[in-house]
């Protein structure tokens, strides 16, 4: 889908939850149908607003996990933060049939469309995988062969979101390479990376700057800043390193 830019002011509207899927112990995907959804592009997000019965409101932003090809269905993946105000409600309380107020799609800056080409470097930390997953799903749905490397930093294998889908996709598609780094607990017999990302790790994984790659980095703020600085030091031009910081702890 071409994904034309939305040329009117965004308003709040309601989507209905039609599916819910536990991705990990803490992460859940909610699929909504949104009437008159204009379509979106991979990488964009929605703002979600909750209203308590006394009028108290809380708003948070969530990246869209589903590719544009799934429109008008929109899937968000939410990771429950222990002291979060909104995420525990979305993960533990929301049921199929509930309505959620949302505004979107938002942000044409952090998007990738197949026609933009590559090679593509996706760097995700924790729940930062969500908008990158929309890009990977879009790449597949569009039949794109753009060479893609995903560096996914997670505390452990159990916390990897979309694990089966990613590993199947990487196994079946030689153009998609999946590199994990497990920062807290490594699986038995693991010979891959077992540390937080640093310039050395990125230097081994990233496309060479001379390949003119496009890079997208998403996750907690310190993770994003480390990765972005590392890629720039490896010669990536600023304009080709797009970042989406999720804040100090990655959400709420």
């Amino acid at each position: 889908m071409e994904g034309t830019a939305v040329q009117r002011r965004l308003i709040w509207r309601f989507g209905e939850v039609v599916a819910a899927r536990a991705e990990t112990a803490r992460a859940k995907s909610l699929t909504l149908t949104v009437p008159e959804w204009p379509g979106h592009r991979a990488g964009q997000h929605v703002d979600v607003r909750l209203t308590a019965d006394d009028g108290y409101q809380a708003e948070r932003s969530y990246s869209i996990a589903s590719p544009p090809e799934d429109s008008p269905k929109v899937t968000i993946t939410v990771e429950r933060l222990d002291d979060g105000e909104v995420s525990p409600y979305l993960v533990d309380e929301v049921r199929i049939g509930d309505r959620l107020e949302l505004r979107g799609p938002i942000g044409g800056y952090f998007v990738w469309e197949a026609q933009m080409g590559g090679p593509l470097l996706l760097v995700g930390g924790g729940s930062g995988i969500v908008p990158l997953m929309a890009m990977i799903r879009h790449r597949k749905a569009a039949g794109s062969a753009v060479p893609t490397r995903l560096l996914y930093s997670s505390r452990s294998s159990a916390e990897v979101i979309y694990r089966d889908e990613l590993e199947n996709a990487a196994r079946l598609d030689g153009g998609l390479k999946l590199i994990y780094t497990f920062t807290r607990v490594q699986p038995p017999g693991w010979t891959g990376y077992g540390r937080r990302i640093d310039v050395g790790l990125l230097g081994e994984v990233a496309w060479l700057a001379g390949d003119h790659p496009r890079a997208y980095i998403c996750g907690p703020t310190p993770f994003v800043e480390t990765a972005a600085a590392a890629l720039v030091s490896l010669g990536y031009p600023d304009a080709y390193v797009k970042t989406e910081r999720f804040g100090p702890t990655g959400g709420g």
């Binding site: 309601f14 909750l50 209203t51 308590a52 019965d53 108290y56 809380a58 105000e85 409600y89 309380e93 509930d98 959620l100 107020e101």
Partner: protein, 201 residues
């Protein structure tokens, strides 16, 4: 069509503090950080506090000089315009009465200015008579940078955006000058007991 999110309550908890919470506020046990910019980190050997503007003679204190001024403990309830209130907070600081006694000024208004460019405006009689301090300790410890350290203005009888973080001085002014939030739709004074959140309230 109701826009209420079934079963959503947020973080707020029921409290037994009726009478201490201004209208529309809820009790908060944490201490949320609301920042409109990067946290400044001015080294103490470069920090100073000044009172200038419409004064006969400006006055400046280094950190050592400021620390040597008479300090007093302050126990206060604080109220944020975003609706959280925190009761019985403990600070230590220098009263604005002490500081303003060291300058001569007929000015009616005080504009607090801060590292990072934040400003807030106050009528002079809202910060005198034991109502305002430059605080340098919170709960017995130096104020953490994210909470405005090394020193912040403390004016607890008004919404907490008036208690400017990273304060570096006061400009005495004959004219009122709306500050950072006052110029962007928030109330010029901000009395939580009259629920003066926004311009025109």
């Amino acid at each position: 069509m109701s826009s209420i999110s079934r079963g959503f309550r947020g973080r707020r908890e029921e409290s037994g503090v009726a009478g201490r919470l201004p209208p529309g506020q809820y009790l908060e046990r944490g201490f949320p950080v609301l920042s409109a910019g990067p946290t400044p980190h001015t080294p103490l050997d470069r920090w100073d506090f000044s009172i200038m503007g419409s004064v006969t003679q400006p006055k400046r204190w280094t950190w050592e000089e400021f620390r040597a001024l008479p300090h007093e403990p302050v126990k206060a309830d604080i109220h944020c315009v975003t609706k959280w209130s925190k009761l019985d907070t403990h600070w230590d600081g220098v009263s604005l009465d002490t500081l303003l006694a060291q300058v001569e000024s007929e000015a009616d208004y005080v504009i607090a200015f801060c590292d990072g460019g934040y400003t807030t405006n106050l009528p002079r009689d809202e910060v005198t008579g034991g109502k305002a301090w430059i605080a340098d300790a919170y709960e017995g410890e130096p104020i953490a940078p994210e909470h405005g350290g090394p020193a912040r203005l403390l004016v607890p009888h008004l919404y907490f955006w008036k208690s400017a973080k990273w304060v570096r001085g006061l400009r005495m002014s004959d004219e009122d000058e709306p500050g950072f939030w006052e110029s962007l739709g928030y109330h010029n004074l901000g009395d939580p007991w009259k629920e003066q959140r926004y311009s025109g309230d």
